[in-house]
């Protein structure tokens, strides 16, 4: 069944200006059974849309709290403030707008879940503008019973886009590495950390995962043969191949935006230098030629340059080189140790890790005006930043109470969400592209 939209034409709603006086650290309700992560949100955003998401009719029968997932997604984006309710509303209701206005809500979401004869599920929802007292729009989404979480994320994306004008990233996926019990896994989960599945299970370390731009493959470094080797692996089939297994160490794979080229760090000619190769490992050519360490490549979104880390100036700093080769240009000048560059999808912001004394902290730098670097956190063991495809959030790894944890933050550092693993240490998150 195709996704259908209701007859009412949607209009783009301007963001409501809203100043909050209190900050709260909220714990999302614990889902039964399958929660691998808890979402803990802290911080205050300057402008947030107050929104009510009621319970969906019959969602209790599925064991998946779709309305709860929508609420958590919207909260984590930093652009919404949830108003609690125990009410249930479906998409055919005519809500009493004055009641919702009295609760200071600007927007309202309701919906229903219906099991079809063939076992699939019809998830329907409606979004209302409470202030104007009318529908904005809604959809019907028929999914397999195993994809209910994805259906909820799609609702949150719809709400995000209608009310902010920007695409939401709730239907995207992340990949990350876990370490525990002497084993390492590479996992893929929803962007909220739930529904994690194991893509690779190994007794030896796995590092540096990287999504292909079409979201179909992951590149990563595996030590299964007692050295660093770059693999690419199809996510759905598990089919994998060693892309770079030259003499010495092979690591830090990065995909070009068109998915046809990989850049990686190889030590085949001594030292650690950047090389380009086609997506199947052919056509190897050397990109950097220094006596230093050159590593951690990251393509710019237009594919024309590659950012990377080099210690040719003494300590590791971020540089940029034309993708076709040429003279590298230094990008970071503040601090003696800057690594792990990540570029925002619009190409304008660099996120990276700076060492300050004994602490490693997440910073951003505006690439267009080269201004002052901005600290995003106050924690001491940050690593591996990665942008969401809408450029509004960064996922990174950090350390809290002796455990490795995954965090998301808004670009101003104001709203942070903690995806906490309850079983193993988690590290090296990478945010996947749009496309589900």
């Amino acid at each position: 069944m195709p996704t259908t939209q209701t007859a009412l034409a949607p209009t783009a709603e301007p963001r409501r200006r809203f100043v909050l006086c209190a900050s709260a650290a909220l714990l999302a309700p614990a889902w039964p059974a399958f929660a691998q992560f808890r979402v803990e949100i802290s911080g205050v955003g300057a402008t947030q849309v107050p929104i009510v998401t009621t319970r969906f009719r019959d969602e209790d029968r599925t064991g998946v709290s779709l309305s709860g997932i929508v609420r958590a997604d919207l909260e984590r984006s930093g652009l919404f403030r949830n108003i609690d309710t125990s009410a249930t509303l479906d998409e055919t209701a005519t809500p009493a707008m004055s009641d919702w206005r009295a609760q200071a809500a600007d927007a309202l979401v309701g919906g229903s879940v219906t099991r079809l004869a063939d076992g699939r599920v019809d998830v329907r929802f409606k979004l209302w503008d409470v202030v104007k007292g009318r529908e904005i729009g809604g959809q019907s989404n028929v999914v397999e019973a195993t994809d209910l979480r994805l259906a909820a994320h799609r609702i949150a994306d719809y709400v995000h886009e209608k009310l902010t004008g920007e695409k939401g990233v709730f239907s995207t996926r992340i990949a990350y590495v876990t370490k525990g019990g002497g084993r390492f896994t590479l996992r893929v989960s929803d962007a909220d950390g739930e529904g994690g599945q194991v893509a690779l299970n190994s007794p030896e370390p796995i590092i540096s995962p990287a999504w292909s731009p079409d979201g179909r493959e992951l590149a990563y470094v595996s030590f299964e043969s007692q050295k660093a080797v770059v693999y690419t692996q199809e996510v759905t089939s598990g089919k994998r191949r060693a892309i770079a297994n030259f003499r010495g160490s092979n690591s830090a794979p990065a995909w070009s935006p068109d998915g046809q080229t990989l850049c990686a760090t190889l030590s085949r000619e001594g030292g650690s230098q950047l090389y380009l190769m086609s997506r199947n490992g052919d056509n190897l050519r050397r990109l950097t030629t220094s006596q230093a360490i050159d590593t951690e490549p990251a393509f710019s979104p237009d594919g024309r340059s590659i950012y990377f880390v080099s210690d040719r100036g003494g300590g590791p700093q971020v540089y940029r080189i034309p993708a076709g080769g040429g003279t590298p240009e230094r990008i970071t000048f503040v601090g003696s140790y800057n690594i792990s560059p990540a570029i925002s999808p619009d190409g304008r912001t660099l996120a990276y890790i700076t060492r300050l004394g004994n602490a490693f902290r997440l910073y951003t730098l505006d690439l267009s005006n080269g201004g002052t670097p901005q600290a995003l956190t106050e924690t001491n063991d940050d690593e591996s930043p990665s942008f969401a495809p809408n450029g509004r959030l960064i996922i990174y790894a950090s350390r809290s109470q002796g455990r490795d944890v995954l965090m998301t933050t808004t670009l101003d550092g104001k709203i942070k969400a903690r995806l906490v693993s309850t079983t193993a240490d988690v590290r090296e998150p990478v945010w996947g592209p749009y496309g589900r």
Binding site: F223, K227, S249, S267, T295, P316
Partner: protein, 187 residues
């Protein structure tokens, strides 16, 4: 002499069966206990004999042979001659580790079929990929030292584990010092 030969063979069998049983994370200690198959099968004991020597204890022309080269070959396999430690942020092979280089270079020049992997490591501080590259520098420094003493390039592969395989857990200088190392491993 015969008893030692049998014991060595027994250890080989144990090690081999451990590998076959899917024991894929061989710990550092196990590697150090894997003996090297000796060529002559003899060892130094008082009144002992080398291969082909006159073994008649009543002979008046018997000469006991003390083989110092073999002892250094076996000694090189001992744990403390398999690891080079490094100062913070450094990949210089310090003088105190000359014996490690000497012993292993000797083994390699004597037997050109012998291969070694040199595995470089760092302590836990810093980024994973940058530390992988630092570990690579340590491994390559050791490889270069071995090559200068006669080992050929084809016998050596320098690789790195960065900070991914610490020898010692802990976040103090004592632990960090034990993790900044290059290990020489039979391949």
């Amino acid at each position: 002499m015969k008893a030692i030969r049998v014991a060595q063979h027994g250890l080989w069998v144990l090690a081999a069966s451990a590998l076959l049983a899917g024991c894929s994370s061989v710990s550092l200690d196990d590697k150090d206990k894997v003996p090297v198959e000796s060529r002559t099968g003899s060892t130094v004991t008082p009144g002992g004999t080398g291969a082909g020597a006159n073994t008649n204890p009543n002979s008046q022309t018997q000469v006991a042979s003390v083989d110092l080269t073999r002892r250094s070959t076996e000694a090189a396999q001992a744990a403390n001659l398999r690891i080079v430690y490094f100062d913070f942020d450094s990949f210089v092979v310090k003088d105190e580790f000359r014996p490690v280089i000497d012993a292993n270079a000797k083994v390699l020049t004597v037997d050109r079929k012998r291969k070694l992997a040199i595995e470089g490591h760092t302590d836990e501080r810093g980024g994973r990929e940058y530390n992988l590259a630092l570990g690579q520098k340590r491994a390559e420094a050791v490889a270069k030292s071995l090559a200068l003493l006669g080992a050929s390039d084809s016998q050596l592969e320098a690789v790195s584990f960065g900070k991914e395989r610490p020898a010692v857990q802990g976040s103090d200088e004592a632990a960090w010092a034990k993790n900044r190392r290059a290990e020489l491993v039979n391949r």
